[in-house]
């Protein structure tokens, strides 16, 4: 699903954010992407979502080469994935329902199907009774669940999450992570970036670890260079 091949990423005027990263996340798998802040987790996710472009190397998402993907096709690429953000990135002038329905609106769904799918996604995250509320009236955990519902409402084959539990207490974090596991069970490929080592250990899922822009652990390839200090 996701294949990095000797990928380098350099921001102008800074040292390499990613150095020679090669990894493969197979279709249908779920993995944690770990590392300290500054290790390159966010950069890696941004490359996948084509928010940033690869400086050197090849990045394939489901056999599509992102380096040669023309700009006008980027929206299509992003519709093949769902992205969950640490700070939710909700639109605070719209109701919960409208926030979750947004990807379907973008994809041009008819209103009947749109309503059905949106409610199904809200039901999945347990927020069906709050669909008419504004996001600001919800708690942090609820807002994050709205963000997750929005990321999966169009049933993308790939789900990316950037520190989805960053601001939540352990119980809530666990709840959110259980939600991801349940999506993975129906075939969604999932990559969750987190620095919460306890959480990754609790779930026992494959881990991809970055340190200083380089790959230090990849459970899919059986690589483990040990955790750097």
């Amino acid at each position: 699903m996701i294949r990095f091949d000797h990928v380098n990423k350099r921001y102008p005027g800074r040292r390499d954010a990613l150095t020679d990263v090669s990894l493969h996340l197979p279709k249908g798998e779920m993995a944690f992407l770990t590392g300290h802040s500054g290790a390159g987790k966010s950069t890696l996710l941004k490359l996948i979502a084509r928010i940033e472009r690869v400086t050197r190397g090849t990045l394939l998402i489901d056999r599509v080469n992102l380096s040669t993907l023309p700009r006008r096709r980027v929206p299509w690429l992003r519709r093949q994935m769902g992205i969950v953000f640490q700070n939710h990135h909700l639109l605070y002038d719209r109701t919960v329902f409208d926030n979750v329905a947004l990807p379907l609106v973008i994809a041009g769904y008819r209103s009947g199907e749109l309503r059905r799918r949106t409610r199904a996604a809200l039901d999945k995250v347990g927020l069906l009774d709050k669909e008419r509320q504004m996001p600001i009236t919800l708690s942090g955990g609820e807002q994050q669940r709205v963000g997750i519902a929005r990321a999966v409402v169009h049933r993308p084959p790939l789900l990316l999450a950037d520190e989805p539990t960053g601001n939540l207490d352990p119980a809530l974090s666990r709840e959110i992570m259980d939600l991801f596991v349940s999506f993975n069970r129906v075939g969604v490929t999932i990559l969750v970036a987190t620095h919460d080592i306890a959480l990754t250990e609790a779930f026992g899922l494959p881990v991809i670890a970055l340190a200083g822009g380089g790959l230090v652990r990849d459970d899919f390839a059986g690589v483990d260079l040990g955790t750097p200090a």
């Binding site: 279709k27 519709r79 990807p103 973008i106």
Partner: protein, 346 residues
């Protein structure tokens, strides 16, 4: 991953539509659309545009004070040239009777006797570029002069009538009535045997036309300047709108919205500004006309005229609304083209 081999089977059963390699050709969007069918695409389009249009209208309503001010500025900018144009067309209508009175007097050779003069007058009447208004024989001319001047005795002293017969003509229905055309007609009349001189009273026609020309050009120029003003107003309003909604634009781009999808509400916003501005301009003009109609009618009555101040006809209202909407759309297009592309998530 060999740890959970059963998952593949579950996946296949639950999601029969998704098979590996579905997007292998690298042009998946077309294939997917083709599967959904052309009808779905059209109906999605039909659904998408009204939604964007209504959403923009709703947004204007939510920020109604700011929107009303923008609309008011556009209304004034459109109403000003509109009002001048109405004044101009009313002036043209009021003076319309004058240039149809443009006449040419053909003075016949005084040495012709009555029969010969009649024959010349007949020849003039036979032309199809003029219509004879009046024939004045030499005797009639003398009688009229006598009545009006009171030089009875002086005229008695003359042994013959010094006045020529006159044929007064006006351009026939199909003829152009511009000063140049009248002048040309006068010259061709003068070529006729037995016509001594053809006199066209041109000066006032020329002045009138020159004046109206000048005013019309002034109104056009002002109109262009104010149209440019409307473009700038709408463009700037939409620019601020884009900057205010920067985060929303970033998020929708991240979710996979196309440029067209993001552009659409802003373009409709501009369209609404222009259309509402034009509607308000129309109201302003109708109101002004209602306020001025009474005094104008009294003024016309004092001059013994049936003149009535006219407002915009339905076709002109249509043109006004179309212009407003068009300017709004172009203005927002300019702003969107410049600013939207720069906003990228990151």
């Amino acid at each position: 991953m060999a740890r959970r081999p059963e998952r593949g089977a579950v996946r296949k059963r639950q999601r029969p539509g998704r098979k590996g390699g579905e997007r292998r050709d690298g042009r998946p969007q077309k294939r997917r659309r083709a599967r959904r069918g052309g009808g779905a695409r059209v109906s999605a389009w039909l659904q998408e545009h009204p939604r964007a249009a209504l959403n923009s209208l709703g947004r204007l309503w939510r920020h109604r004070l700011a929107s009303a001010m923008t609309v008011a500025v556009i209304a004034v900018a459109l109403a000003l040239p509109g009002a001048l144009w109405i004044l101009l067309s009313n002036a043209q209508r009021a003076t319309g009777g004058w240039d149809s009175g443009a006449r040419i007097s053909a003075y016949l050779d005084p040495s012709l006797d009555a029969d010969a003069a009649n024959a010349v007058a007949d020849r003039i009447a036979a032309r199809d570029d003029v219509r004879v208004v009046k024939r004045i024989s030499a005797d009639e001319a003398l009688a009229e002069f006598r009545d009006l001047s009171g030089f009875d005795e002086a005229l008695e002293a003359l042994d013959r009538n010094p006045l020529p017969a006159v044929v007064v003509v006006e351009p026939s229905g199909l003829q152009a009535r511009s000063p140049a055309a009248l002048k040309h007609l006068g010259e061709s009349l003068q070529q006729i045997d037995g016509v001594d001189r053809a006199r066209v009273d041109l000066e006032w026609v020329e002045r009138l036309y020159a004046l109206l020309d000048l005013v019309e050009r002034g109104v056009t120029l002002l109109g262009i300047l104010l149209a440019a003003g409307v473009l700038l107003i709408v463009g700037n309003t939409i620019r601020l709108d884009i900057l205010n909604r920067r985060e929303e634009i970033e998020v929708t781009k991240l979710i996979g919205a196309s440029d067209a999808f993001i552009r659409r509400p802003f373009l409709y916003g501009g369209l609404w500004y222009g259309l509402l501005g034009a509607l308000s301009a129309w109201l302003l003009l109708a109101l002004s006309r209602a306020l001025l109609a009474g005094p104008a009618a009294r003024l016309a009555a004092a001059y013994g005229s049936q003149f009535r101040l006219q407002g915009l006809g339905p076709d002109h209202v249509g043109l006004l609304l179309l212009t407003g909407a068009g300017l709004g759309l172009v203005g927002s297009w300019l702003a969107v083209g410049r600013h939207l592309r720069r906003i990228e998530p990151g």
